[in-house]
Symmetry: C2
Subunit: 466 residues, 2 copies
């Protein structure tokens, strides 16, 4: 692969913008004219062009003009075998699973279909600027083999694992706890740490797991403490009632996962719409993460995630953004940011006290406002931190894997270019961080994956918009 | 213009799908192979190709293949001079107006800028499949002249009028009640009923109107009882508190418009997020309409419109869908349907009693589910009924103006075609109403204005996707 360099306008994060209210720029690193030097796929140098270029005489430079280059986007929660059913009509979580999801996912037991679907899945990720995803598969071994094979072929930093379910599921789709354990072991041995693949012990959700299946998860985590754990939590009210009926020794949903020793660093619970304050505090204390999936939470009518509460500085919870495609109806994390912004603004109004005065909490209200810097922090450095892969991806720091995306602020619906021109007009001649901040907000609210012009994986161009 | 005919797959509505729960097909008219005959822009004949074609020997036929043809979309609430600020960051309604909207709208006092913006506005409407819009302008005469000139040039069925505001507004942007009255009179005389233009008396909102401005509106409506009235209502909690502080003789927001004799047929109140049950009943009794603007209500954090309550069969309120661009962040009513579906699903969960048992109302819960037939009814026949223009547009009935849109179910984000192929696979060889229903749902939830392949106005091709 050798050494190469990319010249362009770069933005990444050196800190959490929520820690810099009123001065979010302090959390960023912005080079209007920057140079990223890549050696065998790894960032070897990075900084202002005029400073970095002289250190690398003769290096081959690719110029990316009129684009904003960010670290590749990280999707904290997505379902590979739902690629084709995204946007299926009309149900809340539990009937939607039975009617649309399980039949489609079952088709991935057949290798040819799994290969077709997996190719679509990765093509869509790259077209959306997503270079890393923590992925649900199915409980079928073939589906998982195909996932890791394709991830290896694409050389992408992916997290995934056999997705176990044996309760509240059609017979044709159920795992047994023994098969779940045995197949998980085989996959862990073959794929965890092979290339860029990382393995997640994946009980689909507590509502779909017998005690025996949960015990198998506990055993896997004890035998492989370095593995990830990926699951769902507190998505839908009816689901929560169901979980607590199965586990009457637990007072809340998180308690079930705690009972089986799964909650700690590298644990991600998807959704968390209905998490209590106590659960948020325990997430925070244990270093566990929530994947916030706004498009899905709206699409399935699950509810409004309390982002401002999760980000309480005294009990801060690690957060990634997940598309939850196909519970989410869009592949692009830019669309997830749009919906996240909308969820945040609804919470902002609830918490400003203008509806019910006693609901007023102005600090929490403010934390729900998803500025573009907060938003893109979550897709990059913040997502990486929440998944404990920030030593590998999420910034342009030297030593990081060179995954990045080049965004075109003139692309999108027909309304996008004239809007962008207003921001540029306001910003003046030279592209400043302030203008870039405005353009990024336009990209997340007015555009969509059309703004993704290029996606690079390990220093190689993996997607170029047609 | 002469006689011409369009051959293709047509869908329109003969009734309200909410009246046919469990058999929404009974509200539709579907011709897999249909023929629409147009004479001088007006529907002259319509039906199954094999029946209609023999009645029109020699007519020139344009075939539109692999598309779903619907009546042109109707936007019940949109702001022309916000075309460029859509997607501006970070505020609820009232500060957003001050910071972003009034300065931009003020630029439309200058004819050249107004012409540029208005051209963008209409180009975006047509690219979104929108052929009719009830439009806010500004309080400036030039802006309104330009609006009606361009609408006339495009030959589109538009409703609009001088948008008056004199309270809670910067001085540079305020009307006086006298100027509002005089300029409105001039515009009414020149433009109402000229070509396809219709005039709406347009007090921006009660929070922005003095008693004198409201009196001017009352006088205009008394002098021109056939005119439309277009305004905002109950969008944001802080706004409502402000309105009731200005009018302490009124118990609710609707009462203010009632006090000035504005509420009746052809009255539309935009948003209505926080309307009480009493206000919904009075809307229903008086034949007044609400424009439901879901993208805006989410984007500005205004709240969740109670669609199922508005559609209570005992007190049914006339409803259109509005983008409220730029309070809404998208020009396309397809995106509004996406957000409307999401608002509806949140209400569906609230009202099923799974969160708070005493909130349970299963009938109202069900009415919040926005099936694709309900959704596209609102964009066409339903929207036309709510605006009292259903004698002119909204269906393919003989005598209607031939405005229509051809939708391409394979267009949209990269994920769209494979999703559509699943629906077609499920539907079998011949395109059935059931398959079209599924495809339309995919278009509103997975695609966007990219699905708009052609837009026709008065029987002429006005937009062809590149």
């Amino acid at each position: 692969m050798g050494t190469k360099a990319i010249r362009g306008t770069f933005l990444d994060f050196i800190d959490d913008p929520w820690k810099h209210v009123g001065d979010e720029a302090a959390a960023t690193r912005f080079h209007r004219d920057g140079l990223l030097v890549i050696e065998d796929g790894i960032v070897a140098d990075f900084g202002v062009y005029d400073e970095v270029a002289p250190r690398h005489p003769g290096v081959e430079i690719t110029e990316i003009r009129d684009r904003i280059i960010l670290p590749g986007f990280i999707d904290g929660h997505i379902h590979l075998p739902q690629t084709r059913v995204l946007g299926a009509y009309g149900e809340q979580l539990l009937p939607w699973l039975q009617k649309w999801v399980f039949p489609e996912e079952h088709r991935y037991s057949e290798r040819a279909y799994a290969e077709e679907g997996t190719k679509h899945f990765f093509d869509n990720l790259l077209a959306s600027g997503t270079t890393t995803a923590q992925t649900f598969t199915t409980g079928n071994l073939t589906c998982n083999e195909v996932f890791f094979e394709e991830a290896s072929k694409r050389n992408m930093r992916m997290i995934g694992g056999l997705t176990g379910i044996d309760t509240h599921v059609p017979d044709y789709f159920a795992n047994t706890p023994e098969q779940f354990y045995t197949d998980s072991k085989a996959l862990i041995e073959k794929w965890h740490g092979t290339g860029r693949n990382l393995y997640a012990i994946t009980p689909r959700f507590a509502f779909g797991a017998s005690v025996e299946l949960m015990e198998a998860c506990r055993r896997l985590k004890q035998e492989h403490p370095d593995l990830w754990v990926n699951t769902h939590i507190s998505e839908n009210p009816a689901e929560i009632h169901g979980v607590l009926a199965l586990h009457d020794d637990c007072t809340d949903y998180l308690g079930v996962y705690e009972k089986f020793d799964l909650v700690g660093p590298k644990f991600t619970g998807g959704h968390g719409v209905w998490l209590s304050n106590s659960e948020f505090r325990r997430f925070s204390e244990k270093g566990a993460a929530v994947a916030f999936c706004p498009s899905s939470n709206l699409y399935l009518g699950s509810g409004l995630f309390r982002l401002g509460r999760a980000l309480d500085p005294e009990h801060r919870v690690l957060i990634s953004v997940g598309t939850d495609m196909g519970g989410g109806n869009r592949f692009s994390l830019l669309n997830s940011l749009e919906d996240a912004y909308k969820v945040g603004m609804l919470q902002n109004t609830i918490l400003d006290g203008s509806i019910v005065p006693s609901d007023q909490d102005l600090e929490e209200s403010e934390r729900n406002k998803l500025s573009s810097l907060r938003a893109f922090y979550l897709l990059t450095r913040g997502g990486a931190e929440s998944l404990y892969i920030d030593d590998k991806v999420g910034t342009f720091d030297i030593g990081k894997e060179a995954d990045f995306v080049a965004l075109d602020w003139t692309a999108g619906p027909p309304a996008a270019p004239w809007h962008a021109s207003l921001l540029l007009e306001k910003g003046g001649d030279e592209l400043s961080l302030e203008t870039v901040t405005d353009l990024l907000f336009g990209i997340m609210m007015v555009a969509d994956e059309r703004a993704v012009d290029q996606t690079w994986v390990m220093g190689e161009l993996a997607y170029q918009k047609a």
